[in-house]
């Protein structure tokens, strides 16, 4: 299969049953994407496939053949945080950090599609990403904050 991940082209052989998340983590060593559940429930494995937000634990790697993937590692370069990452940090929007990569990728998806965000809308659009630590309020604040920063 051929796939472009964070702007880099990869060619690899995979077993048909290999899940996209395992391909990213094990074959490409991109371990920023996490596995939190086996029921498509928690969202820790969220990545973008051709710009669409996808839970990579329930997509086969081969289904990504010929597609472009964005993972958490593709959101910053030279260790310079992007506005969403900075907003998460500034708003205390993480504790243990395990859901954070998926949250930020989903936030990136939300912010590239929605301009007029309300708190309710943000809550609705991240409800597929479970965080067990923060109580979500700071995550919601961070996404709204990032939205303001990106418009400014």
């Amino acid at each position: 299969m051929k796939v472009k991940v964070n702007g880099v082209e990869y060619e690899d052989e995979v077993e048909p049953r290999t899940l996209l998340v395992d391909f990213l983590r094990d074959n490409l060593n991109l371990t920023g994407t996490k596995i939190g559940c086996d029921t498509t429930t928690c969202g820790a494995c969220t990545v973008l496939v051709n710009g669409r937000s996808v839970k990579s634990c329930t997509m086969l790697a081969i289904q990504a053949n010929g597609k472009e993937i964005l993972t958490i590692e593709g959101l910053s370069s030279d260790s310079k945080l992007n506005p969403i990452q900075q907003a998460f940090k500034d708003n205390f929007a993480l504790q243990c950090g395990y859901c954070t990569a998926g949250m930020i990728v989903q936030a990136h998806f939300i912010l590239s599609h929605e301009r007029d965000l309300s708190e309710e809308k943000v809550r609705d659009m991240i409800h597929g990403n479970i965080c067990r630590c923060t109580g979500y309020q700071n995550i919601v604040n961070a996404i709204l904050d990032a939205s303001r920063r990106m418009r400014a």
Binding site: I35, S76, F88, Q95, R132, Y136
Partner: protein, 742 residues
């Protein structure tokens, strides 16, 4: 410059927001993958494990049974003897299942393969001949001792203890009113986002990467269990994706991974799937049934009853704490002194019960707060008034409760008075009653708590100043998401009067941190933070001595301020960096000090309020959650608030949604898709306040602990709000739609 008291940003967030964090499953070690074949009956005789088909699969290295694994596991998993006295307990031997399986989901064989997909294939290919035996799933049924979980114990009762103070019978007899109560918490699942995981490497020494809250205890336990000296075992705790008490345990799967790595001489790894994680750690499930007595003016006079605590099939590392801590915490912040509580812990053929955030204090608080609300309802008194009448007065503190717990500091009545104002309790109650008149099912409820944390008996810290003047602080506490390390860096930066950027805090490696108890029970900031202050003071004293030598002066002549050593009389100054360099050049080299600080418990307290709304289908939502707490000195308000938000959201889950249903076959009958951990939609809005006139703890930090507060008191506040909204009596968690509509 001072850092403490400010919301300083967390020091190590960059790696998490960029995906460069390293949890156990991210560690690249050339290793075999473990998989577990599990029991599908709650109690059964293991007649034969058929390995042949599995071993034919390419990439499968071994299939091990209990007989083989237990040759290396010399001793069983035991209780946490620092906090649990094992003597009154009946404890079955708990190793890897051998001969019999005691619960549905128990691992009964282990496969080892070259990758995790093959390991799963191999698990499928192993078949086990299991002869079902009589099992007891239900807690009440188990109390009859008709079917025994462990024949050799002769009973299902693991512990029976009487917690008696004063004369409850006499107090009940002379009460104006007596009421029967039954209060319970159902079984739930802690659910950290990172499932548990372990990598074990053996080369004569054992190196274990482990998603744990207690690396040093784990080392000690592995040493005892495998008969290997502690010096030959290194436990490394990488980034840990949440614990909530569930990662302060040792499970048979983990022992099997270590045993396999020793036996095969290969590194072995296992990361639980979410389903396995859910089967590994079930928590709570206890019932208090009894009678209370009170006077017509609302004074609670007596509590008498029985507390049943479910153990599941085995006594886990921490579950012994519950039946021994819940009863002495039941009086809480109230004056009641006549209590008679029989506490009993009972084995069943179900998943062993582990602890969960708050561990015992949520149960004790739910019991006493439900009792307070019951008194209020019976006498048609206001919730605040009833509590005010019963709260211990400030002039009685320090107060020794009827079971001997000494409450350190506080002003419970003033906090309630202020809290009612800060949280706008009466305004919100009025608002809710107006809304209800319009047909909306909304309600407001409050609950009070006094908890116990800051658990000693000790904690370790070392402050080391490097040659370039940068500082490394090692701590025995092991934060796993709370951000405590940032708060400790704040304290050390203040103590050393240097920029916080020059300080790095490390933890969680049993080879580099000499000793430590870990992180649980909201203890880390008070204990490890105080040890870090103390070790920093010592190292600064040494720097002063070096400065005196450099300046040809007596130590008494040297002042220190903001990174400069100053000759008091002459005004000469030498910088921090010069002294650090000098300390590694001349006499008495080196700049480090380590401290093992003895500690004792602290008692934070506060009042929390929930506003709920129920829809036509009985589905409840907490709209808003407000908290007013005295947690001693607040070192980093944003971190403390974060704990209230997180604990409060878990309280919403426990009170309304989370139920680990066990079916009649002892099988966990929920998945992560229908075990409803709150999402952003169910989570409330939060307002969190801390009492400004804090009542400090005896620790150097003056802090008390906040990690569990909201889950300790939240369920009681939410259930009370539900009662306000619906007019129903609800005495258990979770309160499900069917309970609300009935």
């Amino acid at each position: 410059m001072s850092y403490a008291g400010k919301s300083i940003k967390r020091l190590y967030d960059d790696k998490f927001v960029t995906g460069r964090s390293t949890y156990v499953d991210d560690i690249k070690v050339n290793s075999l993958y473990a998989g577990f074949v599990r029991s599908n009956v709650p109690h059964g005789r293991i007649k034969k494990v058929n390995k042949e088909d599995a071993l034919k699969i390419r990439g499968v290295v071994a299939v091990l049974t209990g007989e083989e694994i237990n040759q290396l596991i010399k001793e069983g998993i035991g209780p946490w003897t620092t906090y649990v006295d094992p003597r009154p307990w009946k404890i079955p031997l708990w190793r890897f299942a051998q001969g019999e399986t005691k619960y549905n989901g128990e691992p009964i064989a282990m496969v080892l393969a070259q990758d995790k997909y093959t390991a799963r294939d191999a698990v499928e290919a192993v078949s086990v001949d299991l002869e079902p035996l009589d099992a007891v799933i239900d807690l009440q049924e188990a109390k009859k001792d008709k079917i025994l979980v462990h024949k050799e114990l002769g009973t299902n009762y693991g512990f029976v203890g009487n917690f008696n103070a004063g004369d409850a019978d006499k107090a009940l007899a002379s009460s104006d009113r007596r009421v029967e109560v039954e209060i319970s918490n159902e079984r739930l699942i802690p659910s950290p986002m990172e499932p548990r995981g372990i990598v074990s490497h053996y080369d004569g020494n054992l190196t274990i990467w482990y998603s744990t809250q207690i690396p040093h205890f784990a080392r000690a336990e592995f040493s005892r269990i495998f008969g290997i000296p502690e010096s030959k075992i290194r436990v490394i705790m990488p980034d840990v994706g949440g614990g909530f008490g569930s990662k302060a345990h040792i499970l048979p799967e983990e022992l099997a991974v270590i045993a396999a790595s020793i036996r095969l001489g290969r590194a072995v790894r296992w990361t639980a799937t979410r389903t396995e994680e859910m089967m590994a750690t079930n928590s709570r499930h206890n019932v208090f049934k009894g009678e209370i007595g009170f006077k017509s003016d609302g004074t609670l006079t007596a509590i008498k009853g029985t507390l049943d605590v479910e153990l599941g099939a085995y006594l886990t590392y921490t579950e012994g704490i519950q039946p021994t801590i819940i009863p002495p915490m039941i009086p809480g912040p109230y004056k009641v002194r006549d209590l008679m509580i029989k506490s009993q812990a009972i084995y069943t053929n179900t998943i062993p019960i582990t602890m969960y955030r708050g561990a015992s204090r949520p149960e004790a608080t739910f019991i006493i707060e439900r009792i307070m609300s019951t008194v209020a309802d019976e006498l048609k008194m206001d919730d605040v008034e009833v509590r005010m009448r019963n709260l211990i007065r400030e002039d009685q503190i320090p107060y020794t409760n009827p079971f001997g717990l000494k409450y350190d500091s506080g002003d419970y009545q003033t906090l309630l008075k202020e809290g009612v104002k800060v949280l706008e309790y009466h305004e919100m109650k009025r608002w809710a009653s107006q809304e209800r008149a319009k047909g909306r099912k909304v309600g407001v409820g409050l609950a009070y708590y006094l908890e116990i944390c800051g658990f000693g008996p000790y904690e370790f810290a070392e402050t080391r100043i490097n040659r370039d003047g940068s500082v490394i602080v090692s701590i025995g506490g092991t934060p796993h998401g709370q951000g405590t390390e940032t708060a400790i860096a704040q304290l050390v930066a203040d103590e050393l009067q240097i920029p916080i950027e020059r300080i790095k805090v490390t933890w969680g490696d049993s080879d580099t941190v000499p000793i430590g108890l870990g992180t649980y029970g909201s203890r880390t900031l008070a204990t490890a933070g105080s040890a870090a202050i103390s070790s920093s003071k010592q190292v600064l004293d040494k720097m002063r001595r070096v400065a005196a030598r450099v300046m040809n002066a007596d130590v008494e002549e040297i002042d220190y301020r903001n990174g400069e050593f100053i000759h008091k009389k002459e005004g000469r100054k030498v910088s921090w960096d010069v002294i650090a360099r000098e300390a590694y050049g001349g006499k008495e080299p080196g700049l480090s000090a380590s401290v093992v600080l003895e500690g004792d418990v602290t008692f934070p307290y506060g009042v929390h309020m929930a506003i709920v709304e129920v829809d036509d289908y009985g589905i409840a939502r907490v709209i808003e959650y407000r908290a007013y707490d005295d947690i001693g000195r607040v070192i980093n308000p944003a971190l403390a608030e974060g704990q209230i938000h997180g604990g409060g959201t878990q309280a919403v889950g426990q009170a309304l949604y989370e139920l680990a249903t066990i079916n009649e076959n002892g099988q966990l009958a929920v998945t992560y898709a229908d075990y409803y951990v709150p999402t952003a939609v169910e989570a409330p809005k939060f307002k969190s306040y801390f009492a400004e006139k804090y009542h400090p703890s005896a620790y150097l930090t003056k802090s008390k602990g906040v990690g569990e507060a909201a889950l300790i008191v939240g369920p009681a506040a939410i259930i009370r709000a539900l009662e306000d909204a619906t007019g129903k009596k609800l005495n258990k968690t979770p309160a499900l739609p069917e309970d609300i509509l009935q």
